[in-house]
């Protein structure tokens, strides 16, 4: 339906005298400027467009949000599910489903608000609880041309996958209930604060947007907020939980590399929503992020393939999958900030560091990070966060030319990254220790020996993954 206000305005102009031409021009000029602002992803100021989302940007964010959900259901579920033994495949799928449900509820109740609403430097306020005031009209602060509720949904999908990542480290032995209870607290103590500090407009470590950030760190799509929080928590959790029965003695091998590879493809596909979507617009920055994501994933894949071929004589499917996922995780914090060549370098470092972590570090220290959440996500996220500090350039992201951060880019930014990453790392680990004991006291963390032997699927869920 044609907008009636516009008609009235147009009709009114017909009555104006000749010399009001300029004034009219100014009105038109502002309207044109707003339209141009849409194309350029800048802020509209006039009354006509400032209340609606822009179709191109909004479309991109809706599909990006859907893609990020697809990463968890069924992407991550398959990637991880293929790597466990047959008797535990449903437990992984169930954990992904259960966490999705849980985090949706939390996000609606207060999670979005605590992460993004105006609040203190460390945690957001309660203003957007129950999505109060979170409607289809864009919010000025997050995504000028994207419906505020779509921003909330997009960010929700990140909040879902983050606890989903650490289930890889404790697979095949942690209780379903324990994972839910642990995650419930963890979201409040780790995820919401981290998201607010790094991405909240008034966040304590949001170097990109907050003029008054104490630590001027950058994290494009969640190297710190997603991969470091979950990855380091995963390490602590698997240390506290102890290894799976038989670990190191019996062969414990993936029950379906086919599922794992399918999951990898889905993760990669969805990761475009994750990284390129983090521009919160289909603009120049999203294009940069898309490109960097592709290159890093490809180079990470090749690096693992070459290393395995060289060191083991055979290049495995799991190796290529791990390299790709590692490349994706590592580029995440840097993806919107680096040039293609920067992305290639990050992909290479990603391949080397995650290979080293999965193939050597774990063997040396003999912790049972079952599906390598630490080896891939913590290591990748940490390396990427650091490298973002080194390689970020205003050439890739115009926002880095802003006064508040300009002087750091290419100079001391890496130190800010180290500070932010370090604080979150230490905090994640400490909280995980505390929550492990709390969860253990409340519901018990580890399944009993019978359950572990029989498999979690039958014992915990009363179902088998495949027909008998």
């Amino acid at each position: 339906m044609r907008n009636p206000k516009v008609w009235i305005l147009g009709a009114a102009l017909l009555g104006l005298s000749c010399c009001s031409g300029v004034a009219a021009d100014v009105g038109l000029e502002r309207r044109i400027a707003d339209l141009e602002a849409y194309i350029r992803n800048e802020t509209a100021t006039g009354p006509i467009l400032s209340e609606v989302p822009g179709p191109g940007h909004n479309a991109w964010m809706m599909i990006s949000a859907a893609l990020v959900l697809f990463m968890t259901l069924p992407g991550l579920a398959l990637f991880y599910g293929g790597l466990v033994r047959r008797k535990n495949v449903l437990s992984i799928l169930g954990q992904c489903l259960g966490l999705t449900g849980l985090v949706i509820v939390l996000w609606w109740v207060c999670g979005y608000s605590l992460s993004f609403a105006e609040g203190g430097p460390f945690l957001g306020g309660w203003g957007w609880s129950f999505f109060k005031g979170v409607g289809s009209r864009p919010n000025d602060v997050y995504g000028t041309w994207v419906s505020h509720n779509i921003h909330a949904m997009y960010q929700l999908m990140f909040a879902i996958i983050t606890p989903g990542l650490f289930i890889g480290a404790v697979a095949e032995r942690m209780k379903f209930k324990a994972i839910l209870v642990f995650s419930l607290f963890w979201m409040f103590l780790v995820y919401f604060p981290a998201a607010h500090m790094i991405w909240g407009a008034d966040g304590w470590m949001n170097g990109l947007v907050n003029d008054r950030a104490a630590i001027k760190a950058i994290d494009f799509a969640g190297g710190i907020v997603v991969h470091m929080t979950s990855g380091w928590s995963a390490l602590i959790l698997c240390l506290l939980l102890g290894p799976r029965r038989g670990y190191g003695r019996e062969p414990i091998s993936p029950h379906s590399m086919v599922l794992c590879m399918v999951g990898t493809g889905m993760l990669w596909f969805g990761w475009y929503g994750f990284n390129a979507g983090s521009a919160v617009a289909a603009d120049v920055v999203s294009s940069t992020a898309f490109t960097a994501t592709t290159l890093s994933a490809g180079i990470g894949l090749c690096t693992w393939a070459v290393l395995e071929q060289g060191l083991r004589g055979k290049c495995s499917i799991l190796g290529m999958c791990s390299g790709a996922v590692g490349g994706l995780a590592t580029i995440t914090p840097a993806s919107g900030f680096v040039t293609p060549n920067g992305a290639v370098l990050i992909g290479l470092l990603s391949g080397i560091s995650t290979y080293f972590a999965c193939a050597k570090l774990k063997a040396w220290f003999r912790y049972d990070d079952s599906l390598d959440t630490f080896g891939v996500h913590a290591v990748g996220g940490t390396v990427g966060t650091f490298m973002a500090g080194i390689l970020a350039t205003a050439e890739a992201h115009p926002g880095l030319a802003a006064d508040r951060i300009k002087s750091l880019v290419g100079h001391g930014l890496w130190l800010e990254q180290v500070k932010a990453g370090g604080i979150i790392l230490v905090w994640s680990c400490l909280v995980t220790v505390a929550l492990y004991y709390l969860t253990n006291a409340l519901v018990g963390c580890r399944v009993d020996v019978e359950t572990e032997t029989q498999g979690l699927d039958l014992s915990e869920h009363g179902e088998g993954g495949y027909e008998h």
Partner: protein
């Protein structure tokens, strides 16, 4: 009547079947099994970890034959299954006291 159990390499099934058909033996029951023996298994690598999988996929053939068919049947199996390389498998022969065809309730050699 005798029961022959033969453990063979999976890709030899077609040849063994053909060899048995030639000597007039049609009935047999096959199952997928894992063999442990002198033949070495293979190594699998998952990220850093290397596993030795020491079993090998084999097929087990169960066939019950009349006493007078025993040696032709055994010969046929050997003919079909032999590659001369380690892991070709074994043939075990034992006695069977009774055979019954469920459909007709025939017993003994007619039922084979």
């Amino acid at each position: 009547m005798k029961k022959i159990e033969a453990i063979i390499k999976p890709f030899k099934l077609e040849e063994v079947k053909d060899a048995l058909h030639e000597v007039g033996i049609q009935g047999m029951t096959v199952s997928e099994v894992k063999g442990f023996g002198r033949q070495k298994g293979h190594t699998e690598i998952y990220r850093g970890a290397e596993y030795t999988v020491d079993f090998l996929p084999k097929l087990k053939l169960d066939l019950v034959v009349a006493d007078n068919q025993l040696s032709t049947a055994v010969q046929a199996i050997i003919r079909g299954a032999k590659t001369g390389k380690i892991g070709d498998g074994k043939i075990f022969v034992s006695g069977v006291e009774e055979v019954i065809r469920i459909r007709t309730e025939e017993r003994g050699e007619q039922a084979v």
